[in-house]
């Protein structure tokens, strides 16, 4: 079995374990490449129909093409989609002109997510994070508990081995299930190529620039690139030595910004 198939099959196993253990479960969907690979894997795991809702936390700062992709993909994959916005923060004027990126990200993403979890009482969320994205994500588990305050207790994580996972939650707590943990950015692209998985066009270069990672447009910067096809991107990644999230401003706002964001509930 080749390396990519091994990753795929393990992810499908994780999906099925999560669906078995948690009856009330949802999958946040950012519409980015990893998120769309997740949808693909879920459809494989469950034979076409994703048996739980997807959640889009709309920051109101998505690229126009992302909204277009969302409406198309919702139909194509037959997704049960829930969209939530932190209206209260938007009304308060929380935006990138008035506040620093860490604050805005926390308010518009994490707080909105927390409210959605309280609203729907989800016991588990399936997320698309990968170990290679950030050094704090490297220390994650496949099934990673979050307490009632949505905090990640990285100092005392439960052990996880032999494909046995933490599967119990107390009221108010939830588990982050992370089927792509062992995938790399290159694996994601190799898989998108192999399976012809639909993705937004923002990843492909236009006028010498492309996005490697997608977030809110005011703080997401395209990188110089001539990669106009998936093949080009794969070729580019085989040689690059800059990090994937270098275009994401909130990560670099201060030392250990990601750790601070993530300890408070950010993906």
């Amino acid at each position: 079995m080749d390396h990519l198939t091994k990753l795929e099959q393990q992810s499908i196993f994780i999906f099925r374990e999560a669906y078995h253990y948690f009856k009330n479960i949802a999958m946040p969907w950012s519409m980015g490449k990893d998120s769309n690979v997740l949808i693909w894997l879920a459809r494989k795991a469950f034979y076409g129909k994703i048996p739980f809702p997807l959640l889009h936390i709309d920051t109101t700062f998505e690229f126009p093409e992302m909204y277009q992709f969302r409406e198309w993909a919702k139909e194509y994959h037959d997704i049960d989609l829930i969209v939530r916005v932190n209206d209260e923060a938007v009304a308060r004027g929380v935006n990138y002109e008035n506040y620093d990126p860490v604050t805005v990200t926390h308010e518009l993403k994490t707080v909105a997510l927390q409210r959605a979890i309280s609203e729907f009482k989800w016991q588990a969320l399936i997320t698309g994070i990968r170990r290679d994205e950030d050094s704090t994500r490297a220390k994650e588990r496949y099934f990673s508990p979050r307490n009632a305050e949505f905090e990640w207790d990285y100092k005392d994580q439960p052990p996880e081995f032999w494909n046995q996972f933490t599967s119990s939650v107390r009221p108010g707590e939830h588990v982050r299930v992370q089927p792509l943990l062992d995938w790399t950015e290159l694996d994601i692209w190799l898989y998108i190529r192999r399976e012809n998985i639909p993705i937004p066009g923002l990843y492909f270069a236009r006028e010498g620039k492309r996005f490697r990672s997608l977030g809110c447009w005011p703080i997401t910067h395209p990188v110089p690139s001539e990669a106009r096809t998936v093949d080009d991107i794969i070729e580019e990644l085989r040689h690059t030595k800059t990090s994937e999230r270098s275009g994401r401003a909130q990560d670099h706002h201060e030392r250990n910004a990601m750790q601070k964001l993530r300890a408070k509930g950010f993906m």
């Binding site: 390396h3 078995h20 034979y47 050094s135 081995f161 192999r194 993705i199 093949d231 750790q259």
Partner: protein, 666 residues
Amino acid sequence: MSAQVLKEPPAQYAATSGTPAFFPREHTAALGGAKETGLLPVPEKDRFYIVVVGHVDHGKSTFVGRLLADTDSLPDGKLAQVQKACAAENMDFEYAFLLDALLEEQEQNITIDTTRILFSTRQRDYAIIDAPGHREFLKNMVTGAASASAAFLLIDSREGVQDQSRRHALLLSLLGVKQLIVLVNKMDLSDYSEARFQEIEKEYTAFLATLGLTPQHFIPITARHGENIAGRGDKMTWWKGPTVVEALDGFTNTEVLDDKPLRLPLQDVYRWDDRRIFAGRIEAGRVRPGDKIVFQPGNKTATVKALEAWGAEIPLASAVAGESVGLTLEEQIFVERGAVAAPAEQPPFVTQELAARIFWLGKEPLRQQRTYRLRLATQETSCVISRIDRVVDSVSLASTQSKEGHSLEVARHEVADIVIRTQKPVAFDSYDAISPLGRFVLLDNQQIAGGGILLVDEKKAEQLRSHLHPTTGKVDRRAREVRNGHPGAVVWLTGLSGSGKSTIAGELERQLFDLGRQVYWIDGDNLRLGLNSDLGFSEEDRAENIRRAGEIARHFADAGTILIISLISPSNASRNAVRERVEKGRFIEVFVNSPLEVCAQRDPKGLYAKAKAGEIQNFTGISAPYESPDEPELELRTDLQSVEECVAQVLEKIRSIPSPEVDWTI
């Protein structure tokens, strides 16, 4: 980098671009470029997982940082960035900082949780797992090591073999990591002495041999200076063996499970459409349409009809170990998660008594006669530790034998040989034959608290194969139910003393009896006067009291009787264990609920008064906890409803037990 905030999206991404092609191949075609086929342009390299273990401060993170730096595997600017951060905080730069991501790790100079780093040699891609060496974080070391195919074990040349050097090696052997390279680090601090290196090699080789481990190499290194990592340096010219990078590619990939007998533990059964898809991952062997399989435990046979796949143009012809599959079957059989599909002629062992070697990570010690949950592949059952035979000191490997009248316990980080009695039969294999079916975890209070392996020698295998199977008579439950016109069932009344269990049980029995039904009521107190008179009120004894009550109830239900049982039964785990033993759908858990104040006021037996006066210890509700049922079939508020109303609700529950064959005349 300070955050630059844009006022508007970049021009080329400002608006939507007409009707885009979201499928990559269509996107490429629309560009007029070459058509992407989905086939890979170059053969993929395999990815190999290696864990780095050893005693705290023997240089694991420094070694990994150095390995990355010397093989040019760091992202651009990473080294400079970390060096700059160190300078800003007035700290000396350490290669370990490249890995320790968390603030606490950097400040305390200690790895807390495992980190994974990817790097490549010409032959293959590697994922290096840097595991913590501090004893406190052993569960993280286990988490990291369990996913590895090989290990580097570091030993400080000055300090030599230390506690975690031994403990980690023992855990590696239990986790099934058999390939090992020992790195004798910090050779500079021993003046690069070949004699010192050989001394450690000799001592540690002897220790590893007792664990059945034979390292591929011992290599002398200085991680801090990069000696014998990628390059050799000029300090250890006596060393003629390989450098670390040279030795790496000598690891071979893990055990091949494809050629073993089929083991497919079911994860779930999906019924989205007219198909019933039996989903699971093949842990060993292979499966094809037409294969005759048997599901164990349960001994149910079936024929594979098809291997389902979403989006596949042609049906799958076969699948092998590692693949997550979905089967449809020719026959309509009832099997659930946990059942293991296997060839009829090469089934796994099935038993309720497991002899295991375990390692314990729980905060509370593992104790004899206590109840835990056991998970083996996708099987899950509650279990009782019937014996702790010996506890192995994981540092010295000296063992403490159990003695008459003195029960052992297994403290955190200890290893032990134990015997486990499971509530449900378990299908398994010997760890050395089919490892995924020969290992299990124990959960304490819903947390994974230990792992264990099952080793079966020929003699034991013989015993297991000839082991008594449950005897079944010629009259089954269904036949009895058809004749009686009502289901056999267990009505389990749980609640505080004085909540009204006995009152309801008595009335329910009377009404069912008058209706001409097979019914019997057992009261918990009566059991304690006879069958359970050897039991007290400790946590263990209470669990055993309930287990026995449950077994009796189960037999009555199987005999077609409606068995009413009234028992405080304060623990969720104990009640759920009974539920598992009773035929599905025929266990009616009734939460007889009345506020504690009301119960205490009623106090029909005068027990609350005595408990409050301290005359009775461990009294539920006063000096011992009562866990309300999570999802009872029925909750009766005896402070708000009459006895008649309560009884009517229970009768309705019994009537609503689903039955494909019989219309209940109840």
